[in-house]
Amino acid sequence: MKFLAWLPPLAAKFFHRAQLSDEMDQELRSHIQLRADDLERSGMPRTEAERRARIEFGGYQRYKEESYEAFGGNFIEIFLQDIRFSLRVLRKSPGFTITAVLTLTLAIGANAVVFSVMNAFILHPRYVPQAESLYGIQHGSDNGFQSYPDYLDLRDRNHSFDGLAAFTFALAGLDTGDNPSATWLNETSGNYFDALRIRPYLGRVYHGSDEHGPNSAPYIVLTYAYWHSHFQDDRGVVGRVVQLNKHPFTILGVTPPAFHGTLLFFYPDFFVPIVNHEQVDPGYDLNTRGIRWIFEAVGHLKPGVTPAQAIADLNNIGAYLKETYPKDEGNVTFTLARPSLYGDYLGRPVRAFLAGLMLLAGLILLAACANLGSLFAARAADRSREVALRLALGSSRRRILRGLFTEAVFISLAGGAVGLLGSIILLRGLSAWQPFHQWPMIHAPVNPDASVYSVALLLALASGLLFGAVPVRQVLRTNPYEVVKSGSSGGVGRRITARDLLLVAQIAICAVLVTSSMVALRGLVRSLYGNYGFDLRNTIVASTDLSMAGYRGDKVPAMQKRMRDAVATIPGVESVGLADNVPLAAGSNESIVFSDKTTDLRPSNATANALMFNISPEYFNAAGTALLSGRTLTWHDDQSAPRVAIVNGEFARKVLGSATNAVGGYYKMRDGTRVQVVGIAEDGKYNSLTEDPWPAMFLPILQSPSSSTFLVVRSSRDPQQLAEAIRRTLHDLDAGLPVDIQTRYQGLDIILFGPRMATIALGLMGIMGAMLSITGIFGMAAYSVSKRLREIGIRIALGAQRKEVLEAALGRAVKLLAFGSAAGLLLGLLATRVLAFIVYQATPRDPLVLAGVVLGMSLLGLLATWIPALRALSVDPAILLRAE
């Protein structure tokens, strides 16, 4: 706004220039006339008097221009003149202009993207009103899970929060009358909207007063996005009754467009009260204190309460809970964190990642400026004769520098504009991107706002001034007399300059990035062929939750049996295994277990925290998991039979002492039930490909039934056809059951998300690094060629061969490239140790990687020195020496 207020007077000044200039002419002429009158009066003839008066007045144009400048009107015009001149100059060397603009486009685009993301996620997340006082409660530092009774105690006993709400996720089948579909929703405490200060966009939201015990509040509040996409903005939706998991629920209203819960990446379809949990997501009992399944408790701190006070308050409640319920509660220390990224669990890595990216983007920009600076210096050297001529003809150095800076700023603004545009397009794509096909509700929209635009503009201007400043010294030192007389002279200095070091560093960093992205890529490819304790090949997984179609109690195992039998009859299917969950499918159940000797079953006495899979007897066969010893489970291991389990090697070592004697041994579940180990399975990967071995137990599904259903289908048939056949078969069994079908490879998408992102990020940064290195080497080579053009000409005249000419012209650049690449390659190989935490089997001992890096860096060098080399080779000594 300030800018706009400043504009009119400026414009007025500009448009009144003609008038002002006219008036000045009148005034100066009147002065000369008055002087001439005096001279005439003293006896001079009129013509002589006027001539005399003009001479006495001095340089008319100069004084007029100075007067004009003194009046403060000149700046803009000179600026416009400079711009016109710069444009003409830039148009004359399109190669340089395009290189410079492209470099800045990349650098400023990278900064704009990273800053936008940082702005949207960390600096100004706008997801709830008054986000600055909103906190989530964590146990320790990375876990926000609560049990419902614990949440109620925290809600009712704290003195720090202005309403404490809780929420968790659920997958449920929504039937609005025609097409039942799987939906992701948030189950929330009744006070959720009030605690978060959310007013309905349409209809009403539910409140704490709507809760009257289990299943008392069958209400749905839609998010704006879901209302828009699935109810076509129908305002008559309020009051409508729909079926959720075959239970009638009433739609109360719609939340405002900006609100989608408290997690930045999670977009639920709607909200339902958590008291109806049993209908929405049967599984965990609402009243069990020991099982923490509620995702997070959040609330606004009361005005005047500091986070430290609130933590002390919560810890008092924690101590009370531990004393009152020693069986269920361990030592709890609470902390508070921003709920937008699920506290520190996601928040810390995301913040660290973004801060690292921001730093990197800044460095990229700095390096780009340094490179453009040397490109500019090369140009200034080329133009030294022009500069000298202008100086000799009376132009001031200030004016010449101003011209150079105008060029620099012009290029930087062009680069900034294109970069910003590119980043906006990129962010559009990123915003619409749903990385997980089975989790459509996870995405991360980023909308660049005014602060992003201004940061990009500032960066562009600052970098223009920065690299524009590089040739300043060169211009200031120009001695017009010497240059015009003898041409630009002097060889390139032999000492190592800061610019050389910078270039080596850039090349090294580029090589590091190229190396690590290749290592990551190779690891990623290899991870598709790894052994994870099951066979990835020829497997299709069909998953659903039977509660979505209203199956409960005894109907669940019956339906699961019908599904198994039906799928097993599909031609080409070799075996069908059933489980309540499968490894590496995202999300797993864990339970603490005790050794058989433990009698005091407090959580702190647990022997291990083991992953828990409930499986059918055929599961191991279908999944391709090897049984190392003992027997498989059978259909006789049901509710009436003794509790048995197959455990993996790690479990046997940790809980039963050794893998060899574990069969026949016992351990205790959380509730004290004794379970006999009947078999040992191979170790595997369960939550991520890079994890350390975890203890896992496989329990007979009949002994602990679950409506969560995964059918693991082994078949060598074409997966697409088979998937279609499975879909048809299951649809015939129950048309109202939403099923997700994908190959085991597709199922790995979630697990491979991190490594893929790391690979893409490294690859992108590698491209940036390559781009920078190219401009850097190009600038330096071009500079050294143009500085030594005369020397090269003389060499050629004296009979130097092409090889020698190239050596003279480019030897230094090539040496720097080789040195930087070697250093970068070594560092890159060291860095893969870090990479190994993210990417499965990232190893530098890979000839393909080494060859790839060497090839890549050589290509890069070739590309960067191509034009200067051609120029050096095309030197015609006759023309050159004559021109000098």
Binding site: M24, Q26, E27, L28, S30, H31, Q33, L34, R35, D37, E56, F57, G58, G59, Y60, R62, Y63, K64, E66, S67, Y68, E69, A70, F71, G72
Partner: protein
Amino acid sequence: MADPAQLLPGTLDLLILRSVSLGPLHGYGVLLRIGQISDNALLIEQGALYPGLFRLVRQGLLKSSWGTSENNRRAKFYELTAAGRKRLREETDSWNRLASAIASVLSTQPEEV
């Protein structure tokens, strides 16, 4: 007549303010007035006056208006504003202090030290 002295940098403004303080003048008149009161001891290139005048106008120390000269030519006349009068007083004081200090330094005899 002795050679006219070169103007010290920064003193042109003071001279302009002083000449205009005696009544509105056009640019040429300012030059004549400076020549007259200094007994032609100061040399100013005529055109150099104008950047100074415009600078003072921009600073709000002078205001200008078109009028007619004594021999009926159109000319722009300058006069002091209130701010200009104040500035003239301050500049005069500081110039006098400087001049007397320098004069006393230059007139000091060796035996007085």
